[in-house]
Amino acid sequence: MPLDGSEPYLKIENLWKAFGKFLALKDVSLDIHEGELICFLGPSGCGKTTLLRAIAGLDLQTKGSVHQGGKDVSSLPPSERDFGIVFQSYALFPNLTIEKNVAFGLENTGRSKVEITDRVSELLAMVGLADQSKKYPAQLSGGQQQRIALARAIATNPGLLLLDEPLSALDAKVRVYLRHEIKELQRKLGVTTVMVTHDQEEALAMADRIVVMKDGVIEQVGTPTEIYSTPKTLFVADFIGEMNQIPATAGPSGAVSFGNGTMKSLPHDFTDGHPIIAAIRPEDVIPHGDEAHVLGSDDVVETEENALEVVVDEMEFLGSFWRCRLQHKRFGESELIADFSINAVRRLSLAEGGTMTVELPKNRLMAFERPEAVE
């Protein structure tokens, strides 16, 4: 990642967007560096598309500034900014052939006819559709259309590529394949890219950095591993991947209490006795006696305080692993979900109704503010 301390390519400062009384963006600031692939991730209505459209100048922000390549583009119309865009609908011109669609942006730019034809062939070859150039969009599959839209967007070598949910209209297999292909293409071109998605898997797989948004506010910005392993808020923790959430109270920093027992956890800022949610990912729950298989050398196992004897309530085979629902009186109604590898299950001869001891590693156990209305 080109985090060399140079000026960011795209600098978003204190962006607000109001639709009447509704605030779709609230004081959003963000730096994006040259060559990065950034994903805006969040549930629908979180403001991610609004942010994208503000960057493009399609829907102007109410307040705040956008700088692109050191230039203030805050109030410029789309046609005076430098970006290519792919929409969820692809917006291919239905009455123009594939090559005409791709050539659309190349016309009136001082290129000769031959140059345009060459560039179009190059682009179509790049997206692997060189043989389809005379067809109309409706004659192509969804995935092919998507690639044409991409080719059209990058035809003029824009400094910024904007992708608005580019894969959501496709079926699962094509989506996974294209994910990869877009990422490849982006690497090859080195074009700074912003992609909007509501699919966390897509974001984790593609992004250099993920921007998680909720209710018009950025919740967290970070690399996929940062976002996954050290979510800053319960929302991020919950939205990305699976997360056990168990009501608890804060102990002194580095500890959480469940009813009568206390466990060690990652350091936190809550005062003693503050109601919190204790959270741990299912795959971080370690079956006793299996630590060596799971933990790396820098992980410390706190066997005394963080070990629990639990009842295996239910086991579900999910192909590459087992998902187990574990009960313990400390958790009350909540069950602890744990993902065990097939090997571990076999080694420990786990079965529904049996008991076992699990380990909640302290550097995986997190404390979050407990929302007021907990069901």
Binding site: W16, K63, R81, I85, N95, T109, E219
Partner: protein, 671 residues
């Protein structure tokens, strides 16, 4: 971490976007088309409204008189006529209201007046505004004029211009005029009930039965749209007039009057009602019928609980459309209305017959009110219907039912015979030499050049008008709709434009035409030059039929991907290039629909242009009116049928042309 305090928008001005060149071009164009609508509709209507408040009144205080003794030598002191009137109570205030050509004799203020007496009179204007006539010579100076009594009786006061509700007061005080409101509403109501009922069953037969020849019936039902509304009136004269072929069917009642207007109105409004209702029936959900069948509901019960509620918005909408068409129609009551006065004809009579423009304006204002009301209700109901359309439903598939199919087929055939019959009668009458005395066939009635109304030139003018309206109108209307739909921001401007675009539908043609006289036939108006030319006819026709075309264009544009403009902007291509390369080709079917709609209506319209044509720009539809007016009914029928054939030809041409164009330009539609 989120923090509640930052969740309020900070004070200070919002970002103002810099406009791109495209934005400026599009807003500029929208302003231009907006101005077009302002000049061709809003300003004329305003001119008409102010005309309706321009009154003429006798101002008795503007005149002084002196009377001499028997010798004719010594005169009495001057006395103003209003003081004289105070003393004698000859005239009331209401007698002071006049038209522009009002005259008031003065001898009534002198009870002893005799034209043989040797008494002499002097009269003068007290102000520069005062005007009176001696015989027909105008005097507008303040000098005394001395007259002998025989001449004095020829003195007539002229009214002065002022502003007020006087015209409206005298309108409602004159039963001959205000009765028309009642008549118009009555006729429109009856016609609406009859047409909607007939059209409903016709649409029902076509959508809910398995009868044969549905396509043919659909074609026949649409035929009346191709002729001016005058034509059914002419057909009725031949069918039920005093020499009518089926005169006996009326049992002595006269076709000239409400009966004729109703039958004719049913004819020319039928396609409109049929279209709306069959759309409403087509979107009814087939699953509801399956449910009704599975619940063993009787057909009767199913009809009332499924069919009618499903079509109710269509029925209401059709009713208001028909009501509006009938109440604003001018041609039909003009031909067949006899002594039955209706509002639209009153406007014509006031203006053309009596040159009473002020009263024409008053009647126009009166006519606009019910028309706008019906229009508003229709728009409201239509918005509901759209909501119903977007719901997912399964189209109903009728099952054969021999008896019901036969009944419905017979019914549809009756309607078909009615429509075809009316047209056939006109064609027959046009070919007969001299009805009813010489029934041999001849083409004499096609020698239009020997009749009033403009001759064959009028027919060619109509085609010219139709083509110009179709080309110019389609261009303006489609581009205007594009700007409204696809411009960025500029919300207020777009809302105002949208309102302007909807307004023409609520304005009856007669009113628009009259408003154009007031606005364009004003020498002070820089656009005065287009008055009396083909240009004003094109402008008027485009404006008159703006709304439906605008809605067609809007619907087509809304089906286009919203993001085309964004993509084009991101590719730094001018929006107009996108418009030409993508929008127009993709919307071509709708664009062709708009042009044929404008062409057909330009061929048939009478009401909007009747005040605006000049001898060199007479139109076929106007010729039908004028020939009928002059009693040349057979040539009028002949010309009316020429309009029918032209429109039918244009429709067929449109069909073939659009197939051809579509197969070439819309290849992308085929997968």
């Amino acid at each position: 971490m989120t923090d509640a305090t930052q969740h309020t928008l900070p004070a200070g001005p919002s970002i103002k976007g810099k406009l791109s060149r495209d934005d400026i071009i599009m807003r500029g164009s929208m302003v231009v088309i907006g101005l077009y609508l302002l000049i061709t509709m809003v300003f004329p209507l305003y001119a008409m409204l102010s005309k309706s408040f321009s009154t003429f009144q006798f101002d008795l205080s503007a005149y002084e008189v002196q009377v001499s003794d028997e010798a004719g030598a010594t005169f009495s002191n001057p006395i103003r006529l209003n003081d004289l009137n105070e003393q004698l109570k000859v005239l009331e205030d209401s007698d002071m209201i006049a038209g522009s050509d009002g005259r008031l004799g003065v001898t009534q203020f002198f009870p002893d007046f005799s034209f043989r007496s040797p008494v002499k009179y002097r009269i003068r204007n007290t102000t520069d505004e005062g005007r009176f006539l001696v015989g027909s010579t105008l005097t507008d100076s303040t000098e005394w004029v001395e007259l002998d009594s025989n001449t004095f009786r020829r003195v007539q006061l002229r009214p002065v211009k002022s502003t007020g509700f006087g015209n409206f007061r005298s309108y409602f005080a004159t039963p001959a005029l205000s009765n028309s409101i009642k008549n118009s509403v009555l006729i429109a109501t009856i016609s609406t009930i009859v047409t909607v009922t007939l059209a409903f069953w016709f649409a029902f037969a076509l959508s809910r039965s398995c009868m044969r020849f549905k396509g043919l019936f659909r074609l026949i039902a649409m035929a009346p749209i191709l002729v001016p509304s005058l034509l059914p009136g002419i057909a009725l004269v031949y069918l039920f007039g005093n020499q009518g072929m089926l005169k006996e069917l009326l049992f002595g009642a006269s076709i000239y009057g409400p009966i004729g207007i109703v039958i004719g109105s049913v004819f020319f409004t039928f396609p409109h009602a049929f279209l709306i209702i069959s759309t409403a029936l087509a979107i009814s959900d087939g699953r509801l019928y399956e449910a009704a069948t599975s619940l063993r509901a009787t057909p009767w019960r199913t009809f009332w609980t499924v069919t009618i509620p499903g079509a109710r918005y269509g029925l209401v909408s059709a009713a208001f459309v028909v009501f509006n068409l009938v109440i604003t129609d001018f041609g039909l009551p003009k031909v067949i209305g006899g002594q039955f006065n209706v509002l639209a004809v009153d406007i014509y009579k006031q203006v053309i017959g009596q040159q009473n423009f002020e009263m024409g304006a008053v009647v126009s204002v009166v006519l606009v009110l019910p028309a706008i009301l019906a229009f508003a209700i229709d728009r409201f109901v239509q918005s509901k219907q759209v909501a119903l359309l977007s719901a997912r439903s399964v189209p109903y598939q009728p099952k054969p039912n021999k008896k019901a199919d036969w009944i419905l087929f017979s019914y549809a055939s009756l309607i078909g015979i009615f429509i075809i019959g009316m047209l056939a009668v006109c064609q027959f009458a046009a070919l007969v030499k001299f009805w009813p005395y010489d029934l041999s066939f001849s083409l004499n009635n096609y020698q239009f050049d020997r009749m009033d109304g403009g001759g064959w030139g009028a027919y060619y003018n109509s085609i010219k008008l139709g083509l110009l309206t179709a080309i110019v109108g389609t261009a303006i209307i489609f581009f205007g709709a594009y700007l409204v739909e696809k411009s960025n921001g500029f919300k207020t401007g777009r809302a105002i434009f949208q309102m302007f675009a909807m307004l023409p539908m609520a304005i009856p043609g007669m009113v628009l035409g009259l408003a154009y006289i007031f606005f364009f036939n004003n020498p002070a108006n820089p656009l005065h030059a287009i008055y009396g030319t083909m240009a004003i006819l094109v402008v008027c026709t485009v404006t008159h039929f703006y709304t439906v075309s605008h809605l067609t264009a809007t619907t087509a544009l809304q089906q286009m991907d919203r993001e085309f403009e964004s993509v084009s902007a991101s590719l730094k291509q001018p929006t107009l290039k996108l418009f030409g390369r993508v929008t127009v080709p993709v919307c071509l079917p709708s664009i062709l629909d708009i042009s044929i709609y404008l062409f057909v209506n330009a061929m048939t319209t009478v009401s909007a242009v009747v005040f605006l044509y000049s001898p060199t720009t007479s139109l076929a539809s106007i010729a039908v009116l004028n020939m009928d007016d002059a009693g040349d009914i057979a040539p009028a029928a002949a010309m009316g049928m020429m309009i029918f054939y032209t429109n039918a030809g244009a429709r067929i041409f449109h069909l073939i042309a659009s197939r051809g164009i579509l197969s070439r330009t819309q290849a992308w539609r085929n997968r």
